[in-house]
Amino acid sequence: MNKTALRMEDSHAGSVCILSIGGRIDSANAADLLDRLNGLFSSGEKTILLDFKEVLYLTSAAFRVLLVVTDEAERNEARVVLCGLAGQARELFEMGGLLEAFTVHGSREDALGRL
């Protein structure tokens, strides 16, 4: 597995489910992210914090998943929150005019302090 392959790992901090994402999110693997998030919501998670700290880059396929899942969460009284956006990943959010579309906190610690 190379260093840009998509990695996902979930953990908990109180009632918050944290999904740490690493590598690239693109057309080939965005469906894996969608499946993982749908699985977490199906298992009853209400707040999912997506930590992008290790994400190298993401394409519009990833943004599509994030928009769909965020909308879906709101309809089900759940929420998706983002943190750890830095470097190229942050620039891509800015380029797509999408930073304002999501709830974005700084570091994971900042986010957990506010949730």
Partner: protein, 151 residues
Amino acid sequence: MPLPQTTHLIIRNDVTELPALTSAMERVAAEHGMPEKSLFQLQVALDEVVSNVIKYAWPEGGTHEIEIHIAARHDGVEVEIIDDGRMFDPHDAPQRDKPQAAQRPRPGGLGLQMTKQLVDRIGYTRLGNRNHTTLTKLCALGPPGSGRTTT
């Protein structure tokens, strides 16, 4: 081998084939010392363009081939994507929908809007029944073997 140096590959019109392209780009970048940021930006643009071809070029479905040439030059990398699907000039793509006030933006048109910002040039020609789309990312490349991963 001196620059320019070209890598060719053919993939089928299926998103599961995209990792082959991603890996080929990573190999070219490592071999020629392409800066990581330039590589990532070109990877995002390529994913947008090739996934669009996969999704929209053949409305009738079926298995088709997409031919890709990656040319490493002294002043950057140019990737040519060739398909025999329906005509599509990325310059004619509709503008992205303006988000309504207090509404989450829609993803339609996002990929091409980002592509235009990520590469230095987008070229298009229709030759015979084939689309030739080129993406050019300018950056300084070293001689083959100068990539960091080979040290």
